[in-house]
């Protein structure tokens, strides 16, 4: 009132005021470091001496000469495909199961949900113990029913499937999302389908599935982005299973056994903070960025529920 500003100008100022925490956060903690990552990807920089321009040398190094880039990218993509597919199928099945339960829904839902809450490090440490080939309870139980259990986290072929198992144990979030979507399917449609003589399969195929596809799409895309940043579980599992004594500052090769659990985010860390090859680490970051961005664009294009209620 004291300040002579036109109404639209006041409104613009008000909007800016409310948005200011995010505007500052976005520029300082997101836009700036992203540009700096691009800048460093063209520099040779060991974090001690001043950076020097090397053109595309870091890029060439990562894509042509870096021995661990191939395995890391392969493992990350393997996890993206297998983990996301199994998580969606398993999460949907569990959601369906929960909606069919007539007594004790609360108990079952909590039981299925609880593992999702376990902190990733704690869950991983627990799983490495449970799946320990020599002394773990899982192989002990398997032996009792006559199955010779695999070496799980200590076998390059079984290490990634063990991580998948760990992630399926923490399926609770997807279960809840699918459960809510399934409860939202209009009841009348099922009744109409029943009148037409539809069996359980046709009901799922022609009534349930069309109305939950946006949620399935959402689960797939967010799952892909989450798995692109898969880090903690793979790193901790590798470290604990290797049995190497790791004090602070000690450098171990990540991805035990035989780089089978090495992911791109782990490679970013080890390049940037253990080898101090800032340029290569930034190239790897940008590889992650490009893939995650492409998936996010897809998410927003397909109207998978994220932006559909724009107003």
């Amino acid at each position: 009132m004291a300040i002579a500003l036109s109404r639209p100008a006041r409104r613009r100022l008000r909007t800016l005021g409310f948005l200011s925490p995010w505007l500052i956060g976005f520029s300082v903690f997101f836009a700036y470091p992203l540009l700096a990552t691009v800048y460093f990807s063209f520099m040779h920089y060991n974090q001690i001496k001043a950076p020097t321009f090397v053109g595309l040398r870091n890029w060439k190094y990562v894509f042509q000469d870096m021995p661990l880039f191939g395995p890391a990218l392969w493992n990350t993509l393997w996890l993206v495909v297998v983990m996301v597919a199994l998580r969606v199928v398993f999460g949907l099945s569990l959601g369906l199961l929960v909606t069919k339960i007539k007594s004790g829904v609360g108990f079952f839902r909590t039981a299925f949900y609880l593992p999702y809450l376990a902190p990733p490090v704690a869950a991983t440490v627990a799983f490495v113990f449970l799946l320990n080939p020599a002394t773990g309870p899982v192989n002990e139980v398997l032996a009792k029913i006559g199955i010779d259990g695999p070496n799980w986290f200590n076998d390059p072929t079984w290490a990634k499937p063990s991580l998948v198992l760990l992630s399926l144990w923490g399926i609770g979030d997807l279960m809840v999302i699918f459960m809510a979507a399934l409860l939202d399917v209009p009841k009348e449609q099922y009744e109409a389908a029943e009148l037409d003589g539809a069996g359980a399969f046709s009901k799922f195929r022609y009534v349930t599935w069309p109305s939950i596809t946006p949620i399935v799409m959402f689960a797939v895309v967010t799952g892909v982005v989450q798995t692109m940043q898969y880090y903690t579980q793979a790193l901790v599992a590798g470290k604990i299973a290797s049995g190497v004594s790791i004090g602070p500052g000690s450098v171990i090769q990540p991805g035990y056994p035989d780089h089978s659990t090495l992911t791109v985010p782990q490679l970013v860390y080890s390049m940037g903070f253990q080898n101090f090859n800032t340029g290569a680490a930034c190239v790897l970051s940008l590889v992650l960025f490009v893939i995650a961005m492409a998936v996010t664009m897809l998410l927003m294009r397909k109207r998978s529920g994220l932006l559909s209620a724009e107003d």
Partner: protein, 302 residues
Amino acid sequence: MTTTTLRPAASADATAGATGDDGPGRPRRKEILNWIAVHSIAIAVALLFILPFVFVFLTSVMADDQAMSGDLWPDSWHWENYRTVFETDGFLDWWRNSIFYAVVGTLFTVCSAIPVAYALAKFRFRGRRTAMILVISTMMLPPQVIVIPMYLVWAQQFHLSGTLWPLIIPMAFGDAYSIFLLRQFLLTIPKEYIESAKVDGCGELRTLLKIVVPMAKPGIAAIALFQFFYCWNDYFGPQIYAAQNPASWTLSYGLESFKSAHSVNWNLTMAATLLVMAPVCIVFFFAQKAFVEGVTLTGVKG
């Protein structure tokens, strides 16, 4: 709490099904068989989900040598393992750091997310859609994408590596995931409430604090919980900034080194593991409803 909302619907459904079918004998039997099938599967799956907790717990109270043996049931119960864990060097510090990181981080996140989410949900301005797209994009990006320049700034300009501040300070400037989630929640508050407050002469800020915030309590509770768990579980962040300084380690980061300090004492490691999980489970039991609603909101209520 959500149990009570679901149970009546489920049982009503069951009775409707029983009376709705024409044949008196056959549908009932089919329904009972169905009930048995569904519940047997549910019990089997629930067992698989709960057994890891049981094994971890049983090992956590075993004697040192039995914990190495692969036995499933403890010969004698060693509750003092939990005391030993607490008396381990650093464990209490890590506990304190985790709580500090989680509480202050959550507070910062909530305070900064409220005005931003409100503006994105209720103001009309040019660039609103672009702003939302940018929020979602940052929400989707792996933290590794920007970590290196960020680390260099905090370490070289501000000399804050070795502390948790580089993780906490950015939370005062809006966390994309919380903004997005809270905005989705605020969209469900009818315009009329806000308009009538303005008719009564409330300014924008007063409307937000007196009308919107009280109505948005469940949404705010959900983002607070998510952020608390995020901080509590965070491993990558503390590894980047606190790794060189054990006095700044959090439980999630310290837990993994616990093993090496004691050369795989699985009983103590499992006791420590359960102690790291405990606060999360306790918070969940008190705030189950807000939590489940939050999860649902992200996925479903676009």
